[in-house]
């Protein structure tokens, strides 16, 4: 069984990211399942950076617990990541630098990356030389690596392409002659990679929006959500739409609401600081009952926090922020496929329930690139909710009530441009027709109830949770931790420690009807989340109780859980 973890590290500007990406692509093309993890500093150039690639024949959705091969383009990388090497793992340092020492049985091999690169016309290709070496040592087909490198430089001159493929070969030959003894037996299987993609959560989110008919996108740059803006700016024009970079996040959500009011599917994406800025505007969508889709890719807070790191500490903000009370939906995808599906679903829910829908993601989920079978763009079902047809509009005329009291709370929606009717949408309290300054207490109460009633029905359209495995220890989580949790749970089960895993797919409305019975049946409940205060745990307690048995496993140091963290945390070795 193949499952190798490879890391290349150096300074930003040394080609670490491109090498990592090429390695991931090559492994994927060779048929491996891939999961990547980047560690980068909020410093544009010269900051420490590393790119970790895990390749396995079984699907992988988490960082590995240890590394098998570390390419250290600088000393800091050796110091920082060497200790993570598994026994027998390889630490490849740039020959000539002070020799590094390897911890727990790893092997240090100095390799003349820079020297070899120089011979090829420039130290700049040392990262590619490293790829050649890595391919040989990890049993990755040379041709695949060479081809992947060539494609990477498709748009460059033939000289550049040759220089780089030559670098691959040089590295390969060096490994062949000097390091063959360290080569891994198990190579990457050569199964067909056809129909499979390598992409990030941000890519999947953007694709979900496109497939769902999103035609307007408005946002303000912010890590880690900027990719989505850049994706939309590149691709929406192809379908006649547009991406607008606004002056701030308030304007971005304002645009989305304007478009939603006028009947067009629109979206914005941001991270904590932008999400906080949108707080007041989100309430307008709530009160005026306008569909709006907001992608929130979390990072460590508060304030600017740690822009390039990972956390899940904006969850209660998503659930409770903004003054007053209105329905909202918070979806919590935990995989690439769910990023795609939930984003598409968000548009259906936003229009059906005429409210803001937040797709709650996190840094690791949106930035990690993994292999997945081609996302089913055509399979996306579009449901635009209850709308007033043009014919009905003409028939109803002045009798049309935009905010009619209905059993479901949802009032059939019309959009400007429809003849025969007119109405006012307002952030002020209003009556069934949209008339404001109605002081009647009865009307106020009825309208509050109407709005809050709407999302009761959400479970007919969205999953609340997904459970797997049997056991009286219940692990509850959401978002990117689901990957490492599944891996850890599988191991625990293999070791005779049965755990049941309940993934929350929709955090709000809170799926008490599904979580309640699960908590009741469990002996011990461990809520796994990337924050310090136990935000998900507090929702579990508040809605279904179980105070005595609900415990938490929390990580809030900026890094995602590894499977081993979960294994040890969920079932501490007694």
């Amino acid at each position: 069984m193949l499952d190798v973890a490879w890391l290349i590290g150096g300074k930003t500007g040394e080609g670490v990211d491109s090498a990592g990406e090429i390695f991931a692509r090559a492994a994927a093309r060779a048929g491996a399942n891939v999961h990547t993890f980047r560690l980068f500093a909020p410093i544009i150039k010269g900051g420490p950076t590393s790119y970790e690639v895990r390749a396995a024949d079984a699907p992988v959705h988490a960082r590995a617990d240890g590394l098998d091969c570390v390419i250290a383009l600088d000393d800091e990388t050796a110091v920082r990541h060497g200790p993570a090497l598994r026994p027998g793992g390889l630490l490849l340092t740039d020959a000539g630098r002070p020799a590094a020492t390897a911890a727990n049985g790893a092997v240090v091999c100095p390799v003349p990356f820079t020297a070899l690169a120089r011979d090829l016309g420039g130290p700049i290709v040392k990262n590619i030389v490293a790829l050649g070496v890595s391919a040989r040592l990890l049993g990755l087909d040379a041709a695949v690596m060479r081809e992947t490198v060539r494609r990477r430089f498709d748009d460059k001159s033939a000289r550049v392409q040759e220089q780089n493929t030559a670098a691959v070969d040089a590295g390969w030959r060096h490994a062949e002659t000097h390091l063959a003894g360290h080569a891994r037996a198990a190579g990457v299987p050569r199964t067909a990679a056809a129909g499979r993609w390598l992409l990030s959560g941000n890519d999947a989110i953007a694709l979900g929006a496109l497939a769902a008919g999103c035609r307007l996108y408005a946002s303000y740059p912010i890590t880690p959500a900027s990719d989505i803006l850049e994706w939309m700016a590149a691709h929406l024009p192809a379908v006649g739409g547009a991406a607008i970079q606004t002056e701030d996040e308030i304007a971005a959500l304002g645009l989305v609401i304007g478009a939603g009011y006028a009947g067009v599917r629109a979206m914005t994406a941001t991270s904590g600081p932008g999400l906080s800025l949108m707080t007041e505007t989100m309430g307008l969508a709530g009160m005026a009952e306008i569909p709006a889709v907001i992608v929130a890719a979390q990072r460590p807070g508060p304030s600017a926090g740690m822009p390039t790191k990972h956390e899940q500490s904006d969850l209660l903000h998503m659930v409770y922020a903004s003054h007053g009370e209105f329905p909202r939906i918070v979806l919590t995808p935990g995989t690439l496929e769910e990023c795609f599906a939930d984003t598409a679903l968000a548009f259906n829910l936003a229009e059906r329930f005429q409210c803001p829908v937040i797709v709650a993601a996190d840094q690791d989920l949106v930035l990690a690139r993994s292999t997945a079978s081609r996302l089913p763009l055509d399979a996306v079902r579009i449901d635009r909710g209850e709308r007033l047809t043009d014919a009905e509009a003409v028939r109803r005329g002045d009798t049309y009530e935009r905010y009619a009291l209905t059993a479901s709370g949802v009032s059939p929606r019309a959009v400007p441009g429809q003849a025969g009717i007119r109405f006012l949408s307002s952030g002020d309290a209003h009556d069934y027709r949209g008339v404001i300054d109605v002081e009647d207490p009865e009307v106020r109460r009825a309208m509050v109830d109407k709005r809050l009633r709407k999302t009761r029905d959400v479970w007919r359209y969205a999953a609340g949770t997904a459970a797997e495995g049997e056991g009286d220890v219940l692990v509850i989580s959401l978002g990117s931790p689901c990957g490492p949790i599944r891996e850890a749970a599988a191991r625990l089960r293999r070791n005779g420690r049965p755990v049941r895993f309940l993934q929350i797919r929709c955090l709000w409305p809170f799926p008490s009807h599904e979580i309640g019975p699960e908590v009741a049946r469990a002996r011990r409940v461990v809520v796994v989340e990337h924050n310090a205060t136990g935000q998900v745990a507090s929702l579990v307690r508040g809605h279904v109780g179980g105070h005595e048995k609900v415990t938490g496993l929390r990580r809030y140091d900026g890094l995602p859980f590894r499977p081993a963290d979960i294994e040890a945390g969920v079932w501490p070795p007694s």
Binding site: A26, A28, T148, A193, R196, W197, L198, L199, L210, A211, A212, G213, R215, A218, H235, P237, A238, V239, G241, A242, T246, E247, D248, I250, A251, A252, L253, G254, L255, I257, G258, A259, G260, Y261, A262, V264, R265, A266, E280, T281, A288, R374, L377, A379, V380, I382, P416, G417, Q418, G420, R422, F423, L424, S425, S426, G427, D428, V435, I436, D437
Partner: protein, 291 residues
């Protein structure tokens, strides 16, 4: 609407502004202008903010969106991009437009989005009972400046010129006929049109009455010499300390945002029936994501 439209075709609820409020004239001018342009009420969206001014959407017989305070323009921009066939008008108060919402104005002017922006400038925060606004005169006493306002007021015309306005006018509730013309031209302008309207608040600003303004306003529309195409002259007029003008100050041709966006659909996005028709992008995707 086979018959000719009149302002009555744009009537809705009875306005609850105070007797003598300048906003009545603004409402009437909007209604007249829309009628003269022969726009069917259902093809128009009026977007307003929060304030006495913001209530105008309740009184205008078109589609209306009464948004939150200061955010009329982002919402109006979203509406216009969603449906290019709609006439989108935004109306705001001076606090709305030049206080909390000023940044959106500067950027809307830059974008030159095809929205007509009518600001009901009464120099006070009327709806919150008379506090200082960004256009309150320095030294004026208000509930929030009992010892006199310490700041110089903002100058909407100067700021709009500096931001690159392509249609810039100032009207007054004291001259409904001219105001109607200015709004009508603003709607006709393909791009962003700012019309600052001096709209007195008799309840909270006893000083700057219609009469007070009448003595101070110079009508440049009647000045045959005025060339609305001359930016330098426009600035001189706007910058002058001793004359406050009404009329069309400046107009320049430019392509509106929806005309400049690359590949933007010619027909309203709102008209599309959605369905996964992605052949236009699938090729790109396979290239991007196939390892």
């Amino acid at each position: 609407m086979a018959t000719v439209l009149t302002h009555k075709d744009f009537a809705a609820e009875r306005a609850t502004w105070c007797p003598g409020c300048g906003d009545f004239a603004v409402l009437r001018a909007l209604q007249e202008a829309c009628a003269r342009r022969g726009l069917a009420p259902h093809r128009i969206v009026l977007v307003s903010g929060i304030g006495c001014s913001g209530k105008i959407t309740s009184y205008m017989g078109t589609y209306g969106f009464h948004t939150h305070h200061g955010r009329t323009l982002p919402v109006a921009t979203g509406i216009k991009l969603a449906n290019r066939d709609l006439t989108v008008i935004a109306a705001a108060g001076d606090g709305d437009a030049y206080g909390i919402g000023l940044n959106h104005l500067i950027h809307a002017v830059r974008r030159d989005v095809d929205v007509t922006y009518v600001v009901m400038d009464n120099g006070v925060y009327g709806n919150t009972k008379g506090q200082t606004s960004p256009t309150t005169a320095a030294g004026a006493t208000t509930p929030s400046s009992p010892l006199g306002a310490v700041d110089e007021p903002v100058h909407p015309l100067r700021l709009a010129l500096a931001a690159g306005a392509t249609y810039l006018a100032q009207g007054s509730s004291g001259d409904p006929a001219q105001l109607t013309r200015l709004v009508e031209q603003g709607i006709a302008h393909r791009g962003f049109a700012l019309i600052n309207v001096i709209s007195p608040c008799p309840t909270y600003d006893r000083g700057r009455t219609y009469a007070w303004w009448r003595e101070r306003l110079t009508n440049i529309d009647q000045n045959a010499g005025h060339d609305a195409g001359d930016p330098r002259r426009a600035w001189e007029i706007a910058a002058s300390r001793d004359t406050e003008v009404v009329g069309l100050l400046y107009r320049a041709p430019r392509r509106a945002l929806d005309e400049r966006l690359p590949g933007f659909a010619a027909s309203p996005l709102a008209g599309e029936t959605l369905g996964p028709d992605l052949d236009r992008v699938r090729r790109i995707l396979d290239e991007e994501y196939a390892p």
